[in-house]
């Protein structure tokens, strides 16, 4: 199953990466094993978001920068308004990085 490394940049992914980094540098864990852990994190995070999260958010704003490279969209919005059941915020600058969801749905024979 293909996975995105996208979520490693999230808070939990960063913490995991730093922890693994410490373990690797201390010799407790081999780099190969650390990479396997990260790959598993990619899968688990994707599954969790898909299965456990149901919230919906609307965003409106001005497009400052857009870029589509290697199937990854990168947007920078200014004066973006986030609205959902949980949050309602306006932020001066937001960066959005999005991978193609179709890549996670390979044809299953």
């Amino acid at each position: 199953m293909a996975t995105f490394e996208l979520y490693r940049r999230s808070t939990i992914g960063t913490c995991l990466t730093e922890t693994l980094d410490d373990l690797v540098s201390s010799g407790a864990v081999s780099p190969e094993l650390a990479i396997q852990v990260l790959v598993q994190f990619d899968k688990s995070m994707t599954d969790a978001l898909e299965s456990q999260v149901k919230s919906k958010v609307n965003i409106k704003g001005h497009l400052h920068t857009y870029r589509f490279c290697d199937n990854v969209w990168t947007f920078i919005l200014t004066d973006a308004t986030f609205k959902s059941e949980e949050i309602s915020e306006t932020l001066s600058k937001v960066k959005i990085v999005a991978c193609d969801s179709k890549l996670l749905q390979p044809p299953h024979p």
């Binding site: 996208l6 979520y7 940049r9 999230s10 808070t11 939990i12 992914g13 960063t14 913490c15 995991l16 990466t17 922890t19 693994l20 980094d21 373990l23 690797v24 540098s25 407790a28 864990v29 081999s30 780099p31 190969e32 094993l33 650390a34 990479i35 396997q36 852990v37 990260l38 598993q40 994190f41 899968k43 995070m45 599954d47 969790a48 898909e50 999260v53 149901k54 919230s55 919906k56 958010v57 609307n58 965003i59 409106k60 001005h62 497009l63 857009y66 589509f68 969209w73 920078i76 973006a80 986030f82 959902s84 949980e86 915020e89 600058k93 937001v94 959005i96 999005a98 991978c99 969801s101």
Partner: protein
């Protein structure tokens, strides 16, 4: 409510990762203790941070820099060393340690062998410095400038013989170990000769006026070649080959270091410019896109399964609709 939801998801993710990785850990022979540590450590940081009240501090630091440089581990994956020290130590250290005072003092001795240094240090301390530098000059100049200064070398009666034979042997025949022996023997002979022929030396000085400026004051001329800094021993020979006269050397040395420094500065500036874009955007949305459409300047984007990091808080979402317009 949001934070508890995020915490629940995060905990489930961690448990899922740990449970599925456990077999790999056992396969690799890593004990459960490490696994427990791995499980505990991420739990502490991310779970506490999303809770209301304990906000930004923990978040902003890791999320910013990790934006484009996700992990040192990715470096490992790309084939770089794990320690991280290797790429740093690799560059300067091999070049830095050897510079002996001789490297700076003989700019015209271009690719002189180690035998020069080793052989010269001992006799140098024992004998007067001037004749030795003079001898050294003769050898180095004989090596490089034989074609350029055919008339100067014969002036020293015995020196050209030694240059010719020794240089050919060093360059093409003799191995390094042998060169040490050879040069040391030559130096010993020359040492005795110079001691005997000491009154002859001033004549050689007079003939080689070009080099006299540099070697008349052994300590002073190093100024010219100290300016390049660390890489003096590498940079100095280049102008020496092209322009044998020391006057030109001085001018080129003045020109070269700024050029090199500018090059470094440019690289650093590029890095800074690249990095500047990222820290400015503290608010980050990571997601998958289903559809991105644009009609004139109206954009519509549908994202799913994403993590938003806004104002130090994590917000998970299943679906996002974004509308925006171009400026």
């Amino acid at each position: 409510m949001a934070s508890s939801n995020v915490s629940t998801v995060y905990i489930s993710v961690i448990d899922d990762v740990i449970s599925k990785v456990r077999e790999d850990f056992i396969t690799y022979g890593v004990g459960d203790a490490v696994l427990n540590e791995l499980q505990a450590t991420p739990l502490q940081t991310p779970i506490q941070t999303p809770l209301p009240g304990t906000d930004t501090g923990m978040y902003n630091i890791p999320t910013g820099p990790s934006d484009y440089a996700p992990s040192p581990i990715s470096d490992v994956r790309n084939g770089m060393a794990i320690n991280g020290a290797d790429p740093k130590t690799g560059r300067p250290s091999p070049y830095m340690p050897p510079p002996s005072p001789w490297m700076n003092q003989r700019p015209l001795g271009v690719d002189v062998n180690v035998a020069y240094v080793e052989g010269r240090e001992d006799p140098d301390r024992g004998v007067q410095p001037q004749p030795l530098t003079q001898d050294f000059l003769m050898m180095s100049s004989g090596k490089r400038k034989r074609d350029e200064y055919p008339g100067q070398l014969p002036s020293g009666s015995f020196v050209p013989q030694q240059d010719g034979s020794a240089d050919q042997i060093v360059e093409f025949i003799v191995s390094k170990e042998n060169t040490h022996q050879l040069w040391s023997s030559i130096i010993v002979k020359q040492e005795t000769l110079t001691q005997k022929v000491t009154p002859v030396i001033p004549q050689r000085d007079g003939i080689q006026d070009d080099y006299n400026d540099q070697f008349f004051f052994p300590g002073v001329p190093t100024e010219d070649y100290n300016t390049p800094g660390e890489s003096a021993e590498y940079r100095a020979p280049t102008p020496a080959v092209g322009t044998p006269k020391p006057r030109n050397d001085t001018g080129e040395d003045d020109d070269e270091p700024p050029l090199n420094e500018d090059d470094d500065d440019d690289d650093e500036l590029d890095d800074l410019e690249q990095g500047e874009d990222e820290p400015n955007t503290l608010h980050l949305v990571l997601a998958q896109f289903d559809k991105v459409t644009r009609t004139k300047n109206r954009w519509k984007c549908t994202l799913k399964d994403g993590i938003m990091h806004l104002n130090g808080r994590d917000v998970l979402f299943n679906k996002v609709c974004i509308f925006w317009s171009n400026f």
